[in-house]
Amino acid sequence: MDVCYQRFPKVKIREMKDDYLKFELRETDASMANALRRVMIAEVPTLAIDLVEIEVNSSVLNDEFIAHRLGLIPLTSDNAMEMRFARDCDACDGDGQCEFCSIEFTLSARCTDDQTLDVTSAELRSSDPAMCCPVDQILRSASDSGGYDGSEQRGITIVKLRRGQELRLRAIARKGIGKDHAKWSPAATVTFMYEPQIHINEDLMETLTYEQKVEWIESSPTKVLGMDPNTHQVVVLDPEAYTYDDEVIKKAEAMGKPGLVEIYAKEDSFIFTVESTGAIKAYQLVINAIDILKQKLDAVRLSEDTEESLDQFRELGAHLGGGGN
């Protein structure tokens, strides 16, 4: 089996921040781009609170309401890929505190003032803060040097307490994937678009008056086209602002100039935008997605015992082929 129909995709990163990534993916097809997108959203593991034991809850929210809110808090999950799922952890029965599959949190808050007390994710105490803690706690320690203002440092509100009300609980965070429950999804948004190619027919464009050009440029709902102030030529300012809305094409037709512009989607070039919840860094999300997709493909390989029937199959082929002669 020397033949190989493999592709060699090219990648170019445009912008990279901890929770945001924009990159170009070229020389592959939409099935690969979409598989990566789907894996990033639903199959890259993170940690999230999954089991809550409430000791005291005299707040206005009921126990399950609070448990649900706790589950939705994003937790730092840099080690999630190496951790075990609680359901196949053999070091514990799946509900204890076990270093391979779970992290314990405690929360204890009581309002003693006349003022309402906001209980936030900042009050969650992790048994191993270096391994896993609410993402805003990391932001807070990082923001000592960075420029976060006070209003962004409050954490995520879980419940509000009035004087005399109390909330005390123990929570266990586990590894999971977005397919199970969206709280485990590390992706805020993952999108990709085909790279648009916009060709203006310059000869036909010459036949337009200045006013017509302005009118045509303004027919686009996004700022794709512009006018050169000196030469009064229509230029493509930002092809990627084009949303495949066909408005400029319809407008050209309405103006009696069909073929004024031709717009193609380059079907082997994609522009990806990845936004992370903060559970893992955006670039790590992409790397993890590639690894997960590889694992998935590896799992769908035919097992050894299936291989045996290959010879059988050949025999049948030879038999049928022979019978035909």
């Binding site: 089996m1 033949v3 190989c4 129909y5 493999q6 592709r7 060699f8 995709p9 090219k10 990648v11 170019k12 990163i13 990279m16 990159f23 592959t28 097809d29 939409a30 099935s31 690969m32 979409n34 598989a35 789907r38 894996v39 199959e43 359901r87 994937i177 397919k179 199970d180 429950h181 670039y283 992409v286 790397i287 590639i290 690894d291 997709l293 590889k294 998935k296 493909l297 590896d298 799992a299 769908v300 390989r301 035919l302 097992s303 299936t306 291989e307 029937s309 290959l310 199959f313 050949r314 049948l316 082929g317 049928l320 082929g321």
Partner: protein, 118 residues
């Protein structure tokens, strides 16, 4: 109360094979592969890779029902190949593509993080 466990969507039940292979009874070099607990993520990427193989005459997949967590891939090849060979080759090629993609991506990340340090 009687809701099935959520993990049933992605955990292959004990005693069930992840992939099973069924040869077509009427056409030579045609077969169906039933892949348990997979969906469009794997199905579509596999189908498109099979289309790149000139020995593959037909490759398609279906998700029979949204509550049956399996896909069925059907492959028909020329006599130069076999569905099983084409299937294995497609997985190998995709695996190589992903390895290459990972290398490329990591190199780009490295390039970007060093230029960021100024």
């Amino acid at each position: 109360m009687n809701a099935p466990d959520r993990y049933e969507r992605f955990v292959v039940p004990e005693g069930t094979k992840k992939v099973s292979y069924e040869r077509d009874t009427k056409i030579i070099n045609a077969a169906s592969f039933t892949i348990e607990r997979e969906d469009h993520t794997v199905g579509n990427v596999l189908r498109m890779q099979l289309h790149r193989d000139p020995n593959v005459l037909f490759a398609g997949y279906k998700l029979p029902h949204p509550l049956q967590y399996k896909i069925i891939a059907r492959i028909h090849t020329t006599s130069q190949s076999s569905p099983m060979q084409a299937y294995n080759q497609a997985i190998n090629d995709l695996d190589k593509e992903l390895n290459y993609l990972k290398e490329q991506f990591e190199a780009e990340v490295k390039k970007h993080s060093t230029t960021m340090e100024y």
